[in-house]
C-alpha cells in the first residue's frame, strides 16, 4: 500500500510544526497557550498554515486544489486540532464548510471564484446561524428578496466564524415567506461587491473555549447583491444544506479526535513523570484503567468516524444516516474521555501554567464538538424518525458493505458531491454487517469476550428491528417521548460495534502484523460499548488496559499518532510503503516500560 499524496502532505505539516510539547518550539503549546490567554488567534500558527497552503486542502483537485480524499483531509486537520483547535476551526474549517456548499451547488463561475480565493490562502465564511433559531434552519429570518435583476438582503446572522476577516461568505437566507423546506437559498457573496453603508458587523461573541476564534455577526439593511450571487435554484437551500452537511458533520467532529490524542499524551506524560505513594502514578491500576479506557474510546471514535468518512465516497446514498450517527456518538465519547482524563491529572487539569496547561484549554476547546455546526440532540431526533423505515427496509437484510469502508489507504471512488441525497430512505448496510461479519469468522478466531459482546449487539439489532418496525412515525417528531430517544442510542452503538468489528476483520486479511489486526483493541472498544449499554463495569480488564497503556506509551516515545491511521509523526520513520512497522507491546505487566523515567520524555 502506498502512502497517499495526502499523507505525504500530513508528514510535511507535522515536520513544519514540530513537537508541540517542546518548550522552545515557536509553534508549540507554550505559544499556543499565550495566544489563548490573549483571546487571540495564534498568529505564528496561522502564518505557518498559510505557508503550508491549508485552504487548498478544501478545494477539489479538479479546481486546482488538493482535495481528493476526505479521510486524508481529516488526518491533516487532526494534526492541526491536536495542537490548537482554534487554528483548526478559526483558520480552516469554516472555509471548508463554505466550500462544500459551493462545490455542491455553485455555478462553474462561483466554484472558480471560491477555488481561487482559497488556493491563494484567503477565507470564505459561512453565515448560516441565527441565535433565535439554532438548528431549526427552516425558520431562518435573514431575507434575500429576489426581483428581476437584483437581490436585496435584510436581517442578521450571528455567531459566525471569521465573518469580518473573510473575503467572501456563503449566506443562508429566506427567499420566500411561506413556512416549510422550499423557502431558502444559499448565496455566495463577494464582500468587495457590497455597499459598505448597507451592512454592518456585530460585536464579537466571547466564548468559554475556542477563545481565539473570531465569532462575529453581520446585519444587512437593504443591501443589494448581484443576481449571480445565488447558488442553485431559489427554494433549494435547505436541500443543499442537508446534503453538504453530511460531509461536514462527519469530518469536522472526526477532526476533534486530535484533541483527545493530545489529552492522552498529556495524561501519560504527567502520570509517568509524577511519583505518588512510592511509585509512578501510571502504575496505579485505576490510573492505567482510566487512560486505557480513554484510549479505547478514542479508537472507537476514530474508527467509526473513519468508516463514515469513507462512506461519503463509497456509499453516498447512505450517509444521511451515518453523518448524524457520527456527530451524535463521536462528540460525546471524545468529550467524556477528556473529562475522565482530567481525573488522572488531578489539580493539574485546572492549572493554566506548567507542563499540563494545554489540557485545560483543550477541555474547553472540545466542547463545540457537541453543539457546533449541529447539536447532538438535533442529530439524535433526526435519526429517530428514520428508525421505522430502517427497520422495515434495511435491518432484516444481511448488511453487505464494501471493503473500501474499512481499510485505510485503499483506493476510493472520487467524491461525487452530486450523489449525496437528502434522505437515505431507510437504506443502510453497516449495522447489519455485524451479523454477517460474525458469521464469516472461522470458529475459534474470536476471543470469547469479543464473540460474546459482538453477539450481544447483533442480537440487539434484531430486537431493535422488531421494536422499531411498527413504530408510529407520527410519534417520532420533535415532540417524541424522551424514552424513544434511547432507541437511537442503542442503534448507534450497533453501528459503532459493526464499524469496529468489520475494520478489525478486514485487517486480519493482511499478511503483516499491524495494530489494527490485533484483536485486543477491538476487545477493549467492545467492552466500553457494552458497558455503556448497561450493567457492566466501564473499566477494562487488566490485560486489555495494560495492552493499551503500553501501546500508547510506545507511540508517545516513537512519535506516532494514537489513532488507527498509520502515519508516524516523526517523518524519518515514514517508510515508502506507508506502513509503520508495528510489533505488539511485549509486556503486559505494569511499569515494565513505564516505570523508568527514561522510557518517556520527561515531564
Amino acid at each position: 500500500m502506498n502512502p497517499t499524496p495526502g499523507l505525504r502532505r500530513l508528514a510535511r505539516l507535522e515536520r513544519e510544526f514540530g513537537d508541540p510539547f517542546e518548550p522552545d518550539n515557536p509553534l508549540g503549546f507554550n505559544r499556543i497557550l499565550a495566544a489563548d490567554e490573549a483571546e487571540a488567534m495564534f498568529g505564528r500558527g496561522e502564518q505557518a498554515l498559510a505557508e503550508f497552503g491549508l485552504n487548498a486542502e478544501f478545494v477539489p483537485s479538479r479546481l486546482g486544489g488538493r482535495l481528493d480524499r476526505l479521510d486524508d483531509l481529516v488526518e491533516i486537520m487532526r494534526s492541526v486540532y491536536r495542537r490548537d483547535p482554534c487554528l483548526g476551526l478559526g483558520y480552516g474549517a469554516s472555509s471548508f464548510i463554505a466550500g462544500v456548499n459551493i462545490w455542491l451547488a455553485g455555478s462553474p463561475q462561483q466554484q472558480r471564484f471560491a477555488a481561487d480565493l482559497l488556493c491563494s490562502g484567503r477565507r470564505i465564511a459561512v453565515a448560516y446561524h441565527e441565535l433565535a433559531h439554532g438548528n431549526d434552519m427552516a425558520e431562518t429570518e435573514c431575507r434575500a428578496g429576489i426581483e428581476p435583476g437584483r437581490i436585496t438582503l435584510n436581517g442578521r446572522k450571528e455567531v459566525v466564524t471569521n465573518i469580518q476577516r473573510s473575503e467572501a461568505f456563503v449566506l443562508f437566507a429566506r427567499t420566500a415567506a411561506q413556512p416549510g423546506a422550499r423557502s431558502h437559498a444559499q448565496l455566495l457573496i463577494d464582500k468587495a461587491a457590497l455597499d459598505r453603508s448597507r451592512f454592518g458587523y456585530l460585536p464579537r461573541f466571547r466564548t468559554m473555549g475556542m477563545r481565539g476564534v473570531q465569532l462575529g455577526g453581520i446585519e444587512f439593511r437593504d443591501c443589494r447583491v448581484p443576481e449571480s450571487s445565488l447558488m442553485g435554484r431559489p427554494g433549494y437551500g435547505l436541500e443543499t444544506a442537508l446534503r453538504s452537511f453530511q460531509i461536514t458533520r462527519t469530518t469536522l467532529v472526526s477532526m476533534f479526535c486530535g484533541v483527545l490524542d493530545t489529552g492522552l499524551r498529556v495524561a501519560l506524560r504527567h502520570s509517568t513523570g509524577r511519583r505518588l505513594y512510592g511509585g509512578p502514578v501510571v502504575d496505579m491500576p485505576h490510573v492505567r484503567s482510566v487512560i486505557a479506557g480513554a484510549y479505547a474510546d478514542l479508537l472507537a471514535a476514530d474508527c467509526f468516524a473513519s468508516v463514515a468518512t469513507r462512506a461519503l465516497h463509497v456509499l453516498p446514498g447512505e450517509t444521511a444516516i451515518y453523518a448524524q450517527a457520527v456527530k451524535f456518538f463521536v462528540s460525546k465519547i471524545l468529550i467524556r474521555a477528556m473529562d475522565e482524563l482530567s481525573e488522572v491529572l488531578g489539580a493539574h487539569f485546572y492549572v493554566r501554567d506548567g507542563e499540563a496547561a494545554i489540557f485545560q484549554k483543550l477541555l474547553r476547546d472540545i466542547q463545540p464538538a457537541g453543539f457546533g455546526h449541529a447539536a447532538r440532540a438535533a442529530c439524535q431526533v433526526s435519526l429517530l424518525s428514520q428508525l421505522p423505515l430502517l427497520a422495515r427496509r434495511s435491518w432484516p437484510e444481511p448488511g453487505i458493505v464494501p471493503d473500501e469502508l474499512f481499510v485505510a489507504g485503499m483506493a476510493l471512488p472520487p467524491l461525487a458531491f452530486g450523489d449525496l441525497v437528502v434522505s437515505a430512505a431507510g437504506r443502510e448496510g453497516l449495522s447489519g454487517a455485524l451479523t454477517s461479519g460474525i458469521a464469516a469468522c472461522r470458529p475459534g478466531l474470536l476471543r470469547p469476550d469479543v464473540a460474546e459482546i459482538a453477539e450481544h449487539f447483533a442480537a440487539d439489532h434484531q430486537l431493535l428491528t422488531e421494536s422499531c418496525r411498527d413504530l408510529d412515525v407520527a410519534a417520532l417528531g420533535i415532540s417524541a417521548d424522551p424514552r424513544a430517544y434511547g432507541l437511537v442510542t442503542r442503534y448507534v452503538r450497533v453501528l459503532v460495534a459493526s464499524a469496529c468489528f468489520e475494520t478489525w476483520r478486514r485487517a486480519t486479511a493482511t499478511d503483516h502484523t499491524t495494530f489494527t489486526k490485533d484483536q485486543r483493541w477491538l476487545a477493549a472498544v467492545l467492552h466500553r460499548l457494552r458497558a455503556a449499554a448497561g450493567n457492566r463495569p466501564r473499566s477494562l480488564p487488566p490485560e486489555l488496559a495494560d495492552f493499551l497503556v503500553e501501546e500508547a506509551a510506545h507511540r508517545l516515545t516513537s512519535r506516532r499518532g494514537l489513532c488507527l491511521g498509520l502515519l508516524p509523526f516523526d517523518t524519518h520513520r515514514f517508510r515508502s510503503d506507508g506502513e509503520t512497522p508495528w510489533r505488539p507491546p511485549t509486556s503486559t505487566r505494569p511499569s515494565s516500560s513505564l516505570g523508568s523515567s527514561s522510557a518517556l520524555p520527561r515531564t
Binding site: 431549526d136 427552516a138 411561506q178 413556512p179 416549510g180 423546506a181 422550499r182 435547505l238 436541500e239 442537508l242 431526533v381 433526526s382 424518525s385 428514520q386 421505522p388 423505515l389 422495515r392 427496509r393 441525497v421 437528502v422 434522505s423 430512505a425 431507510g426 412515525v473 417520532l476 417528531g477 420533535i478 415532540s479
Partner: protein, 60 residues
C-alpha cells in the same frame, strides 16, 4: 386541506420520513422531497394522484 402541513408541527426532516410510509401504503416510488414541494394536504394528494396515474400508464 390547503393549510401548510408545517402548521400541524410537521418539520422538514420529519416530512422526509413520512414519504416512505406513503410509498409503502400506495406501493409507488416518490421523491423523498415530495412533501417539501407539496406542503399542503390538497397539494400532496394531487401530486400523488398524478404519480399513481403515471405509474399505471407506465405499467399498462
Amino acid at each position: 386541506m390547503n393549510a401548510p402541513l408545517a402548521d400541524y408541527g410537521l418539520d422538514s426532516l420529519y416530512a422526509l420520513a413520512i414519504v416512505a410510509d406513503i410509498e409503502d401504503y400506495l406501493n409507488i416510488s416518490v421523491d423523498a422531497t415530495i412533501m417539501w414541494d407539496h406542503p399542503t394536504v390538497a397539494g400532496l394528494a394531487s401530486a400523488l394522484a398524478t404519480q399513481v396515474a403515471a405509474d399505471q400508464v407506465a405499467t399498462e
